[in-house]
């Protein structure tokens, strides 16, 4: 996303001078939508509620024929909230988002959201919940993508369940009260994804294949770093002990994970047989097939 903004910000003075203020805003919004859509691969419209809520309950942008945006439902706890600009902090409380992707920066700097549930296979845009300092729980087990810096600075958040953290740089950076992170999908843990998560003690990696670690900085300033107090990473039994004799772990010889293992701060454990076989790290039961 920031690359997109840089493209915008690097527009030369002559080009800027040809745009009115409204045109500039429209152009910036177009960039955001382009990037969100390309990131998700859905090709659908970005989701943004830009109307005024007049009653409590579930509110869907499409209900008011929103101008080109649809598909996101926000549970509004009481009447009177204005969500003409979500980024302004109008939405509050425990919110459930359904439908399409969550736009980049959609809830940035909103301190009044206390928990988030994302239903379905949505993509979470870059910076979507950046510095939402009131969120204590984030639950998106089916999310297909988490954007860069998506949950950075959510300093009250203790538990996060994410369907995918592939390539999400700085995804939970600076979440200083995060104790448990649950990741369903594979791919790669990107640079500094868990940077500064000073209380992180439990990570669950549910992917049946090895999750790559881009570099060891993923855990900088967390208990998992070299010399840190340590923590436990739960992985599938097939990766934890592929020989079945308790002597082997694929992660222990995987690129970069081997060094993290060498630090001596990680305890590896099998998901199977642990409490996380049947529930996510926040205690929510995992639906049975």
């Amino acid at each position: 996303m920031i690359d997109v903004y840089r493209r915008d910000l690097q527009m030369n003075d002559e080009q800027k001078g040809q745009l009115t203020e409204d045109e500039e805003k429209e152009e910036a919004l177009r960039y955001i939508e382009e990037t969100t859509n390309s990131a998700s691969g859905s090709g659908g419209p970005a989701a943004l509620i830009r109307k005024t809520v007049t009653a409590n309950g579930d509110y869907t942008a499409a209900d008011e024929g929103a101008d080109g945006y649809s598909g996101v439902t926000v549970n509004v706890p009481s009447a009177g909230y204005t969500v003409d600009d979500i980024a302004g902090g109008a939405v509050a409380g425990d919110i459930t988002l359904t439908g399409e992707n969550i736009m980049q920066g959609a809830f940035t700097y909103n301190p009044r959201i206390t928990s988030v549930t994302v239903m379905g296979a949505a993509a979470i845009g870059n910076y979507a919940f950046y510095y939402c300092t009131g969120i204590t729980r984030f639950f998106a087990p089916a999310a297909v993508q988490t954007g860069q810096n998506a949950l950075e600075g959510c300093s009250a958040m203790t538990h996060a369940v994410l369907g995918n953290l592939n390539g999400a740089r700085y995804a939970v950076k600076g979440c200083t009260n995060l104790t448990a992170l649950d990741v369903g999908g594979g791919g790669k843990l990107a640079s500094s994804a868990c940077y500064g998560c000073t209380r992180l003690e439990t990570i669950v990696l549910r992917s049946a294949t090895l999750v790559a670690l881009d570099q060891t900085s993923v855990f900088t300033n967390s208990p998992f770093k070299n010399g840190g107090t340590g923590g436990t990473i739960y992985i599938p039994r097939a990766l934890y002990d592929h020989l079945g004799d308790g002597s082997s772990s694929d992660y222990k010889v995987a690129t970069n994970w081997s060094t993290v293992d060498g630090w001596g701060t990680v305890t590896w454990a099998s998901i199977e047989g642990s409490v996380y076989e049947t529930q996510y790290v926040d205690g929510t039961p995992i639906p049975t097939a």
Binding site: D3, A28, L210, S258, T259
Partner: protein, 74 residues
């Protein structure tokens, strides 16, 4: 160009691999692109230099400036 250096960690030998041009290195386990690769020396993993360059770190100020352009007060 690929650069490698050996180091010892808690009595075990490791090799750090990176690109002197700041590109991804390609290889490893699981195979893929890495900004930097650390492996047990005994495994003798070989890397090539990729074409792609990891994205530069972004600054919060960039984002806040962009929000300002959208009329959002931070």
């Amino acid at each position: 160009m690929i650069v490698q250096e050996s180091y010892e960690l808690n009595g075990r030998q490791f090799v750090r691999t990176w690109s002197d041009e700041g590109r991804y290195v390609v290889g490893g386990n699981p195979e893929g692109q890495y900004t930097e690769a650390n492996d047990p020396a005994a495994l003798g993993r070989v890397y090539t230099e990729g074409e792609a360059i990891p994205a530069a770190d972004c600054e919060a100020a960039d984002y806040e400036s962009a929000l300002g352009r959208l009329g959002v007060e931070v």
